[in-house]
Symmetry: C2
Subunit: 660 residues, 2 copies
């Protein structure tokens, strides 16, 4: 992709003074061990499984859609038998009892065929996760052991044709019939059919169905129910199922539509961790506010977003490994020698295309490590603070958005960097592109997710935060005095940190070394703080001018999203900086610092207009950043192979016989 | 895609003063007529054919690869019978005798299935074009009539496994055997197999094979030969053929590999317009310099690039039509009303995602119109000046690069803007994405094409221009004094134009109205001029410092490419400005000016850092530009449907039953 119109003018740099930089040697296994982290053994198990089932990459092309779906199911069930897919479930039901392990396993699975990944996600993450998190012991006893082995397959029926992002407005209704002590589930409108539901078209016997609960004529918002949708392979009575047919990718997953025509399920089918209906028809919940109740339920499903973000980042690793290795083999045009054509990776432009993406992949990897660890702590009960939970949801949303957009971009650039050969299906880009494309929109549309991030920041993750719709958020912010806005937002704390970091006052950032991580972080913190405060002021001004809150929001929306992105970018860089800072001195640290610097400076460079507009960057310094980036690229060049080998993508998963 | 990290802070604008802007009414047929231009009837014929064969869009999914290839061939041959595909061939061979008509027909065909498009391109553009442009009457008489009807199918065997961009280094050799008066064609190396050749795997009987010509032990560079590769459906003796198999997209085209094991063809098989070998084995050519001879041959094939650029732009139209119409139907979240959810297109961010792409599509459309008209003039003999021909080649290269990158980006953004529904194959994005992906690399890798553009600018399209490799270009530039560099480059003329345009001196551009096209163009011209001069200076400095020319080039390469891009961006905006300026006053002019302004300001905004760095934009003015863009988006919003309807994409080609 090429959206930058120009590179700034930089001069041919002088040779570095001798002695200032000694090229490190990268110990690839040590690098892989660092990336694999705490769950190295889990990741190794998955790698072994991926290699054992490597034929699936070919089968994705050679089998018919129907056959491929069956094959993917088979592989998923066989992988389940190795324990790989059930790590997040309690041990008494055959699981591994370790959320972090489960996330690591899922991420690593993204090196392979992504239909397998998504089928695993549907069965164990979405369906299994809903039973585990929204259900109570009766549901656990009834379903977990069987779903962990894959002997019972299920689906997660939330999205409807008409509502994907705004799931509070779902049109499926579950009415309690006290006489029979049953819920009656009905698709009430044309656009209320459940849609795009993985596992629904073919394999699921059960569905967790999200529907508006009505008890005694009163609506209590969206709740989840376990509904049998298929009996002996045929749709259950009252259930209609349609196949969503071919998709751009992920054709090993059987997505489908579901309609419910007054389907009756027992009272106990309600997943009743957060709310219940008594046999007599009295609705009970410990959470009074219906919005909050709903978002509490949704919040328990955050693992899905953590998983998709991690999967995107790992898919990008596959693409970049291929592109870098190809560029170390492919020669085209004589350039520095009359006798031999030049390696692609020795072209400055090629380095500029690939290395910032490589550095960003590392940055996102470490950011993902942080969010996965937090997710583990929250769901393992090590942390029970509500606010921490909300911060996790926000961080998961942001990392998912940036991780999946990065995947789309890195895979596209890698494909183009491999030319026409990259277009053949025998190489992996076709599948990678097609399969990952939907990552930016499923498990939360990225744009909507960034709005969620912004909302959290603007309300400082207050308890009201999740209840607020767009109206509510605008009104909430507007209801405060401007100073209070700053006080009430996360901006406040940021400002203090930025002041700490800019010891010499406002000019410090114009003097500090470009490669000083304190400088790099201070820049990103300043941007975040400034944008958030700006959004708050604009929202407030709009309301003060008596504008419709929705109109205000629409006009400020690009700013809202930019602020959220700035926030997540800061978190990502922080994760990378902290990781490298904690390393013992040595070659590995030097090598990772190169990537960390490249990532930081590219992030600043990409938005250097903003920094100049806001007095944080002089023209001269802006040009120095671009020069330094080119210099970093030249230092990274001799280490490129080791950086991608460090990802530890199994050779069989690269599947690019003509490229590497 | 999301590469911009932030939007600048803009304040909520005041309502426009009444009377300053009256919303125009768009007469859609008139807009379509304007876009269709001179060849409206040709475009109408193609639209009719597309609708007649609309079932191909489904067949791309439902048929097996083998069946689909046959079906695509069938459709191509049937379309040929309508005259649609042969418009560029002389009338005496059954063609239409009108290059411009041929280009218009091809572009319009890109509304439909792109395997059909590419098969047409291979047969009539590449294969037919090579026979027509590189051959002489004996080849025309032998082949043209049959290839125009499709009763003889051929392929264009230039690219090899090892060489796609650097085709002067091809490894296939054609040795003249004076005894038998035959050429012996041989694949000399492993990586010299012809590869990715459309029509080769299945349908082609003939190939135009590019090979190093050797006569009496002397090599004369790459020449083209007509070689039968298939007889009665079986590979001809000495020819081995392999299938390239499944590809990411375009699976209705049978790409394959070819190896030649001493295949003998008669002396007359040499396409001898520019060079010949006498029966006795004497090599003769009117062009002495072998590089120049080769590039003269290649230059005659420029129509292929013009075609691909136009096709990319039209494919983007299809995607944007769907995305805009979906956003005018899809509602999500209550925003301005408590009772009804908001249309996606009423969200500011959604406008920011789609409208700049819409405006750019219009801009590229008109830029393509210019390059197609120039192509028509050059190839119809209306212009015979060599320099004009070289400028056309450069312009075609640049427009192809920007047009196809735009297609990739617009299709991706449009898909994401349609959420998960956009992922179903029944909607068009799957095919659009997969099929167009290779456009950025085939018919010239976009990055390599931009280098070609830069080379032309730096050498002012001098006669040496095309001979120069990277070494040569660097040395050429370096051999001149700096002033001479400026003098000898196109920069010189640009500088004069910029001065004309900035009547008040350097400050004029800080005072002029943002919506003044003279201002907008002056900005882009200034950038182009400055970048080119900078590249020239850096190349020269590197050589003066005794650096290896290749190393100098590698380090300056991003700057070289940025300069080329800046040049093409200026041409694109110029085409749009000139088109709208020529319109009679009225609503259509007002409506197109909105898009033209949006395109111009978005182009400046995307590179506002550069303009600030180079003193052409103050911080304040940079922020005004972003504000003005948001304001333009709001003016465009009520006209969005008409803008996309104006493209005239047949309803059947939109094929998005759930979306529009």
């Amino acid at each position: 992709m090429a959206t930058e119109t120009s590179a700034p003018e930089t001069s041919v740099p002088e040779a570095a003074a001798p002695g200032t930089y000694v090229q490190p040697t990268i110990d690839v296994p040590a690098l892989t061990a660092l990336l694999d982290g705490r769950y190295a053994d889990v990741r190794q198990l998955v790698r072994t499984n991926l290699v054992d089932y490597a034929s699936i990459l070919e089968e994705a092309e050679t089998l018919s859609q129907a056959e491929f779906r069956e094959r993917v199911k088979e592989v998923v069930v066989e992988m389940a038998a190795t324990g790989q897919t059930g790590m997040g479930f309690p041990e008494q039901y055959g699981g591994g009892g370790d959320i972090g392990a489960s996330l690591a396993a899922f991420e690593t699975l993204a090196f392979g065929d992504l239909s397998v990944l998504v089928k695993v996600g549907v069965q164990f993450g979405l369906f299994g996760g809903a039973i585990l998190q929204l259900g109570t012991q009766r549901h656990h006893d009834a379903y977990l052991a069987d779903l962990v082995t894959g002997s019972v397959m299920g689906c997660f029926a939330m999205t409807e044709t008409g509502h994907g992002s705004n799931v509070q407005a779902l049109g499926t209704v579950a009415t309690y019939d006290a006489a029979s002590q049953e819920f009656v589930i009905t698709t009430t409108r044309d656009d209320a059919s459940k849609d795009y539901i993985g596992n629904a078209a073919q394999h699921a016997e059960l569905a967790v169905v999200f529907a508006q609960l009505e008890v005694a004529g009163e609506s209590h918002g969206v709740h989840a129910f376990v509904v049998p949708i298929r009996v002996d392979g045929e749709p259950a009575p009252g259930v209609r199922i349609a196949d969503d047919g071919l998709k751009m990718g992920l054709n090993g997953v059987d997505n489908g539509k579901l309609w419910f025509d007054g389907v009756r399920v027992p009272r106990t089918a309600l997943l009743n961790r957060f709310a219940d209906v008594t046999p007599e028809g009295v609705y009970e919940s410990a959470i009074d506010n219906p919005n909050r109740r709903f978002f509490t339920m949704l919040g328990t499903l955050v693992q899905g977003r953590v998983c998709v973000g991690g999967a995107g980042i790992n898919a990008a690793k596959v693409a970049l490994t291929i592109a870098v290795r190809y560029a170390l083999r492919r020669r085209q045009f004589e350039a520095t020698s009359d006798d031999e054509e030049e390696l692609l990776l020795d072209y400055g432009q090629h380095q500029r295309r690939l290395f910032p993406l490589l550095a960003r992949t590392y940055a996102l990897h470490f950011a993902q490590e942080v969010v996965a660890a937090q997710c583990h702590d929250v769901f393992s009960g090590a942390v029970s603070d509500e606010k921490v939970r909300r911060e996790l949801e926000s961080r998961a949303a942001g990392t998912k958005a940036l991780g999946t957009w990065h995947a789309t971009r890195a895979i596209q650039e890698s494909r183009e960097a491999c030319g026409g050969a990259g277009y053949l299906a025998v190489n992996r880009f076709a599948a990678l592109k097609a399969d990952t494309d939907v990552f930016t929109t499923f498990e939360g549309d990225n744009t909507v997710l960034l709005q969620l991030v912004a909302k959290g920041l603007l309300t400082d993750y207050s308890s009201e935060f999740e209840d607020l719709d767009q109206f509510g958020m605008v009104r909430f912010v507007a209801s405060l005095a401007v100073d209070t806005v700053i006080e009430r937002t996360s901006v406040h704390k940021l400002l203090e940190r930025v002041r700490d970091l800019m010891p010499g006052g406002d000019d410090w950032d114009q003097e500090a070394g470009l490669l000083d991580p304190a400088y790099q972080l201070a820049m990103l913190r300043y941007r975040e703080e400034h944008m958030l405060a700006g959004v708050a002021r604009r929202l407030k001004r709009g309301i003060d001018q008596d504008m419709n809150p929705g109109t205000v929001f629409s006009q400020v929306q690009d700013h809202v999203i930019a602020a959220a992105r700035a926030h997540v970018e800061r978190l990502v860089l922080e994760a990378f900086v902290e990781k490298t800072a904690a390393l013992p001195d040595g070659d590995l640290k030097v090598a990772l610092n190169l990537l960390c610097d490249l990532h930081a400076l590219c992030t600043i460079e990409a938005d250097r207009a903003w920094f100049m507009e806001h007095g944080r960057l002089t023209v001269q310094r802006s040009k120095s950043i671009s020069r330094e980036i080119n210099e970093l690229c030249r230092k990274i060049r001799p280490l490129a192979r080791e950086y991608v080998d460090g990802f530890g993508v199994p050779e069989a998963m690269l599947r690019s016989p003509e490229l590497i």
